[in-house]
Every structure is written in structure tokens, then in C-alpha cells.
């Protein structure tokens, strides 16, 4: 696997391609609307309980983040007490080095993987490949992306941008190279595709002795890790191999087992529109004679403590990666995930990525503006992250930096005009007098507007001017 987000242009440019790709638009619209509607109906059936669960989820996460150092130490102690080993990784390079070393110690060159955002974030598969280790994705959508040498475009459904005929082609072309080939005469019937993947993966599960996972939650007091999934492939990786290595972001902690009660209700409803997800796997250290006998937990920072230092932006760390904000976002629906240039796309990606990576590149600077601030993401977020608030907060950082001279000049101009009602009145009179000179198509930045929309006519008289006459008429 060599695909990487490096080199993807800033959002507006990447979006231009996506918006004009009708097949992509069709696939995305269909998929996001289906999940969106399912989510809405299972959330509505909880009535007022939903808002309670939502604020409890936010409160648990806030509390944990406020005392993160305490809970991290508690987690470390409980994992080790249960027979696991804990490793600390400050950044992607460190995490990759740790995992590579751990795999090398097993003597294996093949590993199976449970779908995991953390390992995607650090591009673990590429790092392992450089060390001669092949990582096999076992989540169906992740497998499709891997076989297609493609990039994920959704948190939960990385292959959301592909239609089933495209998936069939990828299976036929690529499966043989990676293991059991696709059956000849494979159709694009979803069941046939799933069966081909099942046969392909089964052989892999039975042969591979090392697995790598992430975790949805890490329970501090018991040292238990939790993975929620729909297919059961994750459970195969979590139970069959001899060695299990889990890479987990430090914000994934919850203090106690009882806290899971809230998220077990909100996460499946928000992500797949189901009341309960099909497979929930939990593991605590090692159990002699049952499951992996060697367990390693790699705790990943990779920018998270920096995010924690920002009092407005830190709420992004509450995210439980349900992807509800992606499925409801009108911008994501029209661009798909690749345009965001990161493994975290959509509204959460627009606030998380620039915080984790820092806003030093054009790609990261453009992300806080990849939203119309419609607020639909905040409305659905099960941990009530005020994404629009963080977007505006990050825009402030961009605007405070160098560059964007045209925009800064325009804002200054507007400030002068709005600085007094007399200045505004004068500007309005000037615009009114020049009203017939305004061209239908504007040059430069404003051209983005007039390419597809007509500008309104400038009226001869502002409200202010009319009001003065109206007042006089009355007195």
C-alpha cells in the first residue's frame, strides 16, 4: 500500500474535481442520505433521552480530557496488571517504529488489521511495508480501498465513493495478487461481492499470527479495550492471532466500564443508524489459553496534547468517530472525503486535521473554510461538539496569519464603511448612482459567484434614504 494524501490540492481545488464527477456525486448522495435517514429515525425514537445521552457523553469526555494524565496512568497500570504491555508514542514516527519493532519480534512478515483510524492517521501500513511487513486490511470497505490502491474517503465507510461495479472490477483485478483470487464470473451483486471477500479473508485469518487494531474506547479502571463493528472480521483478528497490537489515541479513554453505557447507545445509532451494532469485542490484557497471548497497547499522542491546550478547539477530542457529521454535511455530500486531504474528512476532519497537523500548509489553512456553517453537523453530533464554533475559531487563526491580502483589504474596507452610518450612507449612494455600471460577470474572486448565479440589481435608493423621506412625510 503506497497511497497517501500528500500532494492533494487545497480544498476548493480538490472540490472542483469532485463536484464535477457525476458518478461520485451519485454514489455519495445515495449513501449519505440512506444512513442519514436511518440515523434520524432511530434517534427520534429515543425522544428526550437522546439529549440526555448526548450531554452525558459530552460530560464524560470533558471530564476525562480534563484529567487525562490521571486516567492515562490508571489505564497503563490496569493494562499491565492484566498482562499487557503499554508503549507511549509522541508522534506518528515513534508509533510506527514501536509497532514495526513489535511485529519484527514475532518473526512474522504478515499482519491482519482491524479497521482503525489511528493506524491510518500515522500511515502505519506504509511504514510496515518499508520494513518488509505486509499489513492486510480485513474490514470490507478498507479491503476495497487497499486492493484499489485508493485512499479512504469516509471514517466509517472508507469506500463510500465507489459503486458496486467499481468494486467488482477491483476484486477481479487485484484479489489474486493479495491472496485468494475472486471467483471467475463474479457479478456486482452485493451478496456475491461480500462472499468473495469472505472467502478471500478467511484464508488470511487462519494463516496470520499477528494482528493490529485500534479501539473505540479504552476503559481506564479495568484496562479493557473495546471495538465496535458490523462484520465480525474485527473479532476474527482480535481472537485468532497469537499477538495483538492495539494503537489507540490518548483521547479514547473513558474512566469506567459503566461509562460505556452511554456510548453503546449513541455510537451505533449515530454511525450506522442501528440501535445496537452487530459485534462488540472487548479484551483486557491476556487470558491464558484464550485469544492472543501477547498484547501490546501503543498510546498515541501525535498532536493531541497540543489540541488539548486550545480551550475552544479541544472539544474536537470528544469525537467518537461515529461519522454522523459526515453523513449530514451538505459540503461532504458534494465533494466526498478525498478533497479534505486527510484520513479525517467532513466537518470533524475540517476541525481536527488542521489542529493535529498545525496550520502551516495551504491544505490545512483551507480546511476551516470548507463549511457553510449551516450547523447540521453540530445538530447530529452525539457528543455535542460545536463544530461551527471551532471552525470560526480556526478561521481567526488563519486570518491572523500572513497572506490573504485581498481578503484583508476587503475586510478593512468593509470596516471603514460600517464604522459610521454616514460612511455607509455615502457608499450606498455611490453604489446606487453606479448601479447601471455593475457588469453581469465579475472578474477575480467574485467571479466564483457570477459564474453560476445572477447578482441582484442595486436599488436606486437604500432603505436609509427611503426612511428619511418616510419620516418627513409623517411629521
Amino acid at each position: 500500500m503506497s497511497a497517501t494524501f500528500l500532494g492533494i490540492p487545497p480544498f476548493p481545488e480538490a472540490a472542483h474535481e469532485a463536484v464535477n464527477d457525476s458518478r461520485l456525486r451519485h454514489n455519495l448522495r445515495k449513501a449519505t442520505h440512506t444512513i442519514r435517514d436511518k440515523r434520524a429515525s432511530v434517534v427520534t425514537e429515543l425522544e428526550d433521552d437522546w439529549e440526555r445521552l448526548r450531554s452525558e457523553g459530552a460530560a464524560i469526555k470533558n471530564h476525562t480530557l480534563r484529567h487525562l494524565d490521571h486516567y492515562l496512568e490508571q489505564l497503563e497500570a490496569s493494562v499491565e496488571r492484566a498482562g499487557g504491555h503499554v508503549h507511549w508514542a509522541a508522534d506518528a514516527a515513534e508509533a510506527n517504529a514501536i509497532v514495526t519493532r513489535l511485529v519484527q519480534a514475532t518473526g512474522e512478515t504478515d499482519v491482519v488489521k482491524v479497521k482503525s483510524m489511528a493506524t491510518q492517521e500515522i500511515e502505519l501500513n506504509n511504514a510496515l511495508a518499508e520494513a518488509g511487513i505486509t499489513a492486510y486490511e480485513t474490514d470490507l470497505a478498507e479491503l476495497i480501498v487497499q486492493l484499489g490502491d485508493d485512499l479512504p474517503s469516509h471514517i466509517l465507510v472508507p469506500a463510500i465513493h465507489l459503486g458496486r461495479s467499481q468494486i467488482r472490477e477491483i476484486f477481479l483485478d487485484q484479489m489474486a495478487e493479495w491472496g485468494v483470487p475472486a471467483p471467475a464470473g463474479l457479478t456486482d451483486d452485493p451478496r456475491a461481492l461480500a462472499e468473495a471477500a469472505r472467502v478471500h479473508l478467511r484464508e488470511r485469518f487462519l494463516r496470520t499470527r499477528t494482528a493490529i487494531s485500534g479501539a473505540n474506547f479504552a476503559v481506564a479502571d479495568s484496562g479493557t479495550l473495546v471495538v465496535l463493528e458490523s462484520e465480525g472480521n474485527g473479532r476474527m483478528c482480535l481472537t485468532l492471532p497469537e499477538t495483538l497490537i492495539s494503537v489507540v489515541g490518548i483521547e479514547k479513554i473513558v474512566p469506567t466500564w459503566a461509562d460505556l453505557e452511554v456510548f453503546m447507545q449513541t455510537l451505533p445509532r449515530s454511525s450506522t443508524g442501528e440501535r445496537m451494532n452487530p459485534y462488540t469485542s472487548t479484551w483486557t490484557g491476556v487470558t491464558p489459553g484464550d485469544g492472543p497471548q501477547e498484547f501490546h497497547l501503543v498510546l498515541l499522542d501525535n498532536g493531541r496534547t497540543d489540541v488539548l491546550a486550545d480551550t475552544v478547539g479541544r472539544q474536537a477530542l470528544r469525537c467518537i468517530r461515529c461519522s454522523a457529521c459526515l453523513n449530514t454535511c451538505p459540503v461532504y455530500e458534494r465533494t466526498g472525503g478525498h478533497a479534505y486531504g486527510s484520513v479525517y474528512p467532513g466537518p470533524i476532519g475540517a476541525i481536527l486535521t488542521p489542529q493535529l497537523r498545525g496550520m502551516s500548509s495551504e491544505v490545512d489553512e483551507a480546511l476551516p473554510y470548507a463549511s457553510s456553517l449551516c450547523g447540521a453537523c453540530y445538530e447530529v453530533c452525539p457528543v455535542a461538539i460545536d463544530i461551527p464554533e471551532v471552525l470560526v475559531h480556526l478561521r481567526e487563526e488563519v486570518a491572523a496569519g500572513p497572506g490573504h491580502l485581498g481578503e484583508k483589504a476587503m475586510m478593512k474596507g468593509a470596516e471603514a464603511v460600517f464604522g459610521s452610518s454616514r460612511a455607509l450612507d455615502a457608499a450606498q449612494r455611490a453604489a446606487g448612482a453606479a448601479r447601471n455600471l455593475v457588469p453581469r460577470h465579475l472578474p477575480g474572486m467574485a467571479g466564483a459567484w457570477t459564474d453560476t448565479r445572477d447578482l441582484p440589481d442595486v436599488p436606486a435608493e437604500s432603505f436609509r434614504q427611503w426612511w428619511n423621506k418616510h419620516e418627513k412625510g409623517q411629521s
Binding site: S371, G375, F418
Partner: protein
């Protein structure tokens, strides 16, 4: 009641008739409308684009201009939301601005809130013999929580046939400077909204915000769809005797 009108810079400059409709409507209902001259702009564009300091300056100006008003009506959902939801974030906690905003913001209303909640009317005596679809703008829908109010008002208008708008709660794609910074996505969103509006069979698409209507209307006009956009104030101000003021 004496009601102070905050006309907003976009309405003042580009859609002055909306202000005239509000004045006509409220005066017809027996209220006095005043227009404090010192007003300019709520600062939303600055705030949403990341220019916090000028936004705060404009917030101070707004508070100074309106602090003595019993009620302020804002015929723009997003500007009303800017004042009520975002002004409190602009001043530091305990600052003079935050204290003043806390006192004033609860008296700032979108037109439909003023009518239904404060003045207690849903039937404003309007007559508007057209098929109308209502677009609930994002800020009206999610930040102000206007809910059923606009529909109640529209349903009480004589001659008006309210038609359903598919995908009503979806953003039209305007988003202030988003329309320029992400022109492609904004246009695509506007096109879908315009298509739904045309498919609704309406003659007129209305909303509580001229900015969204400018975006959707600009798309409809480019497509020569024949469908017209109108601020809800225009509909509510129209009567059988006087017709629509254009």
C-alpha cells in the same frame, strides 16, 4: 408597542423593500417603528470569516445603538442569530460588552418571533394569492430555532397555498464568504435547492433571510426558471386592498 428596526447592511443596501415591508406590516398592526440612524452592520461577515476584532467593534456599535429599545426586530435570521448566539462569545467573560449583550440580546427578535411570541399574532391580515414554498434557512432553523412560527404565519395568509419543499432543511450553500471561497460547492448546493424549489410547484419561494434568497434567486434567475423569491415580510405585508408592494 414601539419597535426598533435593525435593517442589516445587506437589506439596507440591496433589499430596501424588505425594510419597507416590515414598517408597513408593523404600522398596520398598530405599532410604532423607529429606525435608529447610527446602525450599520452586525459584523457577521467579519466574524464568520475569522476577523474577530472588527466584529467586536460592530457589536459594540450595535449595543450602543439599540440598548434602550424595548424590542429590536431584525428581518434577517442570520443577523439575529449573530447577535443572540455569537455576540456573547465576542466579549471576554465579565467584560462590559458581555454584560450589555446579556441585557439586550433577549430583546432581539427575528420578524416571525416578534410577531408570534411578542405581539401574539399569527394572522396578520395578509392576502397573497400565490403558491408559496418556505425555505427554513440554517440560522433560522438551527440557531434561532424558529420552528413552526413562519409556517403558522404563512398558513394564516388568505389566498396563499403553502406547498412542500423537498430537502427543506438542507443548506442552500450561501454561507457568506463560503459562496466565494468555495464557489463550486456553493453553486452545487444552490442548484439542488433551486431544483427542489422548482419541483415544488411554487410560484414564490420565501425565507426569513435575503442573503439566502439572493443566492437561490440568483441561481433561479440564471436558469430562467420563472420562480420568484420573496422575503417573508413581503408576503405578510401584502393585503387585499393594497396588494404586494414591489
Amino acid at each position: 408597542m414601539r419597535i426598533a428596526l435593525f435593517i442589516t447592511c445587506v437589506n439596507d443596501t440591496l433589499f430596501p423593500e424588505t425594510g419597507r415591508h416590515v414598517v408597513r406590516l408593523l404600522e398596520r398592526l398598530g405599532h410604532e417603528v423607529v429606525f435608529p440612524e447610527g446602525q450599520t452592520c452586525c459584523g457577521q461577515m467579519h466574524y464568520n470569516t475569522g476577523y474577530r476584532r472588527p466584529a467586536a467593534t460592530l457589536a459594540v456599535r450595535f449595543v450602543r445603538t439599540f440598548e434602550d429599545a424595548d424590542a429590536v426586530v431584525v428581518p434577517s435570521g442570520s443577523c439575529a442569530a449573530m447577535i443572540r448566539d455569537n455576540y456573547p462569545r465576542l466579549g471576554g467573560s465579565g467584560s462590559r460588552l458581555s454584560r450589555k449583550v446579556a441585557g439586550l440580546a433577549p430583546r432581539v427578535y427575528d420578524l416571525t418571533e416578534l410577531l408570534v411570541d411578542v405581539l401574539g399574532v399569527t394572522d396578520v391580515g395578509a392576502y397573497y394569492p400565490h403558491k408559496v414554498a418556505y425555505h427554513p434557512t440554517c440560522h433560522g432553523l438551527r440557531m434561532l430555532g424558529l420552528g413552526d412560527r413562519p409556517y403558522q404565519l404563512l398558513r394564516a395568509v388568505r389566498g396563499l397555498e403553502l406547498v412542500e419543499l423537498a430537502g427543506a432543511t438542507e443548506c442552500c450553500g450561501f454561507g457568506g464568504t463560503f459562496a466565494v471561497k468555495n464557489g463550486d460547492v456553493s453553486s452545487a448546493m444552490g442548484a439542488d435547492k433551486a431544483r427542489h424549489a422548482v419541483e415544488s410547484g411554487a410560484e414564490v419561494l420565501c425565507a426569513v433571510d435575503n442573503s439566502c434568497l439572493m443566492h437561490i434567486g440568483g441561481t433561479l434567475s440564471r436558469q430562467r426558471s420563472g420562480l420568484r423569491v420573496a422575503h417573508i415580510a413581503e408576503i405578510l405585508a401584502s393585503t387585499e386592498k393594497e396588494g404586494a408592494l414591489r
